[in-house]
C-alpha cells in the first residue's frame, strides 16, 4: 500500500495531543469542548486505520467509529446545554470562574 500505517497513527497522535492541549489550556468551556471533539476525531482515525490495515474484511472498526460519532454528538449536545444553563445563572462560562464547589 502506498501509505504506511504509521503515518496515519502519527497524524492521529498529533491531533490527539493538540486536542489535549486545548482541553488543558483553554479558559472557555466551549473551547474545551472543541478540544474534546478533536481528541475523539483522533481516536476515530486510529479505528479506521487499524480497520483498513489489519482487518478490512470485517466491519468492526467502522462500526466502532460510528458509535464514537454517536457518543460525540450526544456529548456535545449535553455539554453545550450544560454550558448554556450555567451561563444563564452565572453569566460566565469561563472555567476559572465556575468554582461553586470550592466553598
Amino acid at each position: 500500500m502506498a501509505i504506511p500505517l504509521s503515518w496515519y497513527l502519527i497524524v492521529a497522535a498529533a491531533l490527539f495531543c493538540i486536542g489535549f492541549y486545548g482541553v488543558l489550556a483553554r479558559r472557555n468551556a466551549v473551547a474545551i469542548l472543541m478540544g474534546v471533539e478533536l481528541m475523539l476525531n483522533a481516536v476515530n482515525i486510529n479505528f479506521l486505520a487499524f480497520w483498513r490495515y489489519v482487518r478490512p474484511e470485517e466491519p468492526l472498526g467502522q462500526v466502532f467509529a460510528i458509535f464514537v460519532l454517536a457518543v460525540a454528538a450526544a456529548e456535545a449536545a449535553v455539554g453545550l446545554a450544560l454550558i448554556i444553563s450555567i451561563y444563564r445563572t452565572r453569566k460566565t462560562i469561563n472555567i476559572d470562574n465556575i468554582d461553586l464547589l470550592r466553598g
Binding site: I66, L69, A73, A74, A76, A77, L80, A81, I84
Partner: protein, 118 residues
C-alpha cells in the same frame, strides 16, 4: 474506489477556487470608491444600536439539538436500509425499536413544548 473520489477531489478544488478567481477578476475591473458612510453597516450611515452579536434565544439551540439526534439516527438507518434486503423480520423489528426510541424523544420534546417557536 479511489478513482471515483479523484473526480470529486478535482471538482472540489475547481469549485473552491473558481468563485474566488472570479471575485479576484472583478476586483481588477470594478470601480473602487470606498467612503466611510458607504462602508458602514446597512450601507447608509445609520448606526447599529448596541453590539451586533446579541444573545439569542435558546429556541434555536433546541431545534439544533433535536436535529442532531435525528441526524445520527439517519446515519444509523442508512446502512440498515442498504442491507435491508438480506435481513429477516426480527432484524427489522430491532431497527424499528431503534426508531421508536427516538420517536419517544420527539414526543417528549413535543410535550415539553420544545417544538413551539415562542
Amino acid at each position: 474506489m479511489l478513482q471515483q473520489y479523484g473526480l470529486i477531489g478535482m471538482l472540489a478544488l475547481i469549485a473552491l477556487a473558481f468563485p474566488f478567481v472570479v471575485v479576484g477578476f472583478t476586483w481588477l475591473i470594478r470601480p473602487k470608491r470606498p467612503d466611510p458612510i458607504k462602508n458602514s453597516t446597512y450601507e447608509c450611515g445609520l448606526e447599529t444600536i448596541g453590539e451586533t452579536w446579541v444573545q439569542f434565544r435558546a429556541q434555536y439551540y433546541l431545534f439544533a439539538l433535536i436535529f442532531v439526534v435525528f441526524d445520527i439516527e439517519a446515519m444509523f438507518l442508512f446502512p440498515f436500509a442498504v442491507a435491508f434486503k438480506q435481513l429477516g423480520l426480527f432484524a427489522v423489528i430491532e431497527a424499528l425499536l431503534f426508531v421508536a426510541m427516538l420517536a419517544m424523544g420527539l414526543i417528549y420534546a413535543w410535550r415539553k413544548q420544545a417544538l413551539e417557536w415562542q
